[in-house]
């Protein structure tokens, strides 16, 4: 299934921007490796968000200027970061106590598949690859709210929003909202509920690239991003 070229798909930057709008002021947030990392730069001015990384740091900022990187000061993606005033360093067990103990408000993660019941598969695509889970299972089972940020379909056009995950689960019933390049979709009571769709696409068009029935709660808004 392919999407009409008139459809105003969001770029990765725009996807990150849209997700960032839904981060509440004062939140403690863990951003997954890759696309979710872009979210930090897009948080609206005036909202104070504190970022947590699994490897023992709360309150970090952007990558430092070239030449000032410290390989001992990195995020979970092993990318150099900086300490903001008021940062705290701690060991891995304390870091995951924050995660497992429900102290983080939000985690934004990538996905291979999200099911309509909130199941998430984002760590193992198929049997061949070397399995690697990292902190994803801890995050989804511990953080208060889990958002997924991902393209609506795979590179070859298969739905990532599905009725049931065929890949190995990261967690069962853990996702509450999905931000894609085509839509913003809530997960409520075992259903996908469409909140916003990009310009040029209607619900039927979105349904055609989605692997489970879409519901609405009023007319979906327009998904747009600067």
């Amino acid at each position: 299934m392919s999407i009409d070229t008139k459809v105003k798909k969001l770029t990765r930057q725009q996807m990150a921007w849209r997700a960032a709008q839904d981060i509440a002021d004062g939140s403690y947030v863990n951003l997954g490796i890759g696309l979710p990392e872009l979210v930090a730069r897009c948080v609206p001015p005036g909202r104070h968000v504190t970022y947590h990384t699994e490897n023992g740091l709360l309150g970090f900022g952007e990558r430092p200027p070239a030449g000032e990187e410290d390989p001992d000061l990195v995020n979970a993606g092993k990318k150099p970061v900086t300490l903001l005033p008021g940062a705290a360093l701690f060991h891995h067990s304390d870091s995951f106590a924050m995660i497992r103990g429900g102290h983080l408000d939000l985690s934004i993660l990538g996905a291979f598949q999200v099911a309509q019941n909130g199941d998430l598969a984002n760590w193992q695509a198929g049997e061949d690859a070397v399995p690697a889970v990292g902190g994803a299972m801890d995050l989804v089972s511990g953080v208060k709210q889990v958002f997924v940020l991902t393209e609506h379909t795979t590179r070859d056009g298969k739905p990532k929003l599905v009725d049931a995950c065929s890949y190995a689960l990261t967690g069962a019933g853990v996702v509450s909202r999905v931000f894609t390049d085509l839509a913003v979709v809530d997960i409520r009571d075992g259903h996908f509920v469409v909140l916003e769709i990009v310009d040029g696409l209607d619900l039927a068009g979105l349904q055609a690239v989605t692997g489970a029935p879409l519901h609405t709660d009023g007319t979906p808004g327009v998904l747009q991003a600067p």
Binding site: D25, G26, S27, Y28, H48, V49, T50, H52, L58, G59, L83, L84, P85, G86, A87, A88, L89, F90, S93, D94, F96, A97, M98, I99, R100, G101, G102, H103, L104, G142
Partner: protein, 235 residues
């Protein structure tokens, strides 16, 4: 994020009757005397209190108990030279006691903060304190299962807080406070000073601010032992 800064009365204003409250301190070291006195003034009753001890003299936790605000104490060592208030009310049956070995108490509180609903420990195996607890063998050793301990509020005393709630403590006044900060839904901290973010070395932070909800500055906090020695009674 910047944590709201309250005065003493404001910090404890919403604590309801029946709340479970963890109070930092080992004897007087780390006892948040001013916060406990504010709680006495506030009037909440039927409290469950978690502390290593059960108060000394006629101030702080002992005064809270004496004013009959405490329904149940969860502690390891309710007996001391100056703990007559607890002993009297316990003897008359006005107070329940859940006695927990000190290390098990600490670990149960940490477990509450770390999302660990239960764990196994050798401590108390074969003793009366293992009664009613599930026992299990691992690698030929017997262990008992212990459940996490959480609270609605924690009251703790720090030496320094920054505006984001990062904390440093003074010497052995640290004791249970970092664990209680993790295990309470709302952690209220009285700090001798509140500094701007950057005023605590990130490498030396003991309690990261994520575990802290409210700050109160108490610049020259009372030391419980001194109040007891002076015979002070509150209120």
């Amino acid at each position: 994020m910047r944590k709201p800064v309250y005065d003493l009365a404001g910090a404890v204003a919403d604590i309801p009757d029946g709340a479970t409250i963890m109070i930092g301190g080992f004897g007087g070291a780390g006892a948040p005397v001013e916060l406990v006195h504010a709680l006495i003034d506030q009037g909440a009753r039927e409290l469950t209190v978690v502390n290593n001890n059960a108060g000394n003299g006629a101030v702080g936790l002992a005064a809270l108990i004496r004013e009959r605000r405490v329904r149940k104490m969860i502690c390891s060592f309710p007996r001391s030279a100056d703990s007559s208030v607890f002993q009297e009310l316990y003897a008359e049956g006005a107070l329940q006691l859940e006695l927990v070995p000190q290390g098990t108490l600490a670990e149960r509180i940490r477990a509450g903060g770390a999302g660990i609903p239960a764990f196994f420990t050798r401590t108390s195996v074969g003793t009366p304190l293992a009664k009613g607890k599930e026992e299990r063998e691992f690698d030929g050793q017997r262990y008992v299962m212990e459940r996490w301990l959480k609270a609605d509020y924690a009251l703790v005393k720090a030496r320094r807080a920054d505006a984001y709630g990062n904390l440093l403590y003074n010497m052995t006044a640290r004791n249970f406070a970092p664990l209680m900060c993790m295990a309470a839904a709302t952690t209220i901290v009285q700090a001798s000073e509140i500094v701007e973010p950057g005023g605590i070395d990130p490498e030396a932070v003991v309690t990261p601010g994520i575990f802290v909800n409210r700050l109160v500055e108490v610049r020259a906090p009372a030391q419980e032992e001194r109040l007891v020695a002076e015979g002070v009674r509150y209120p």
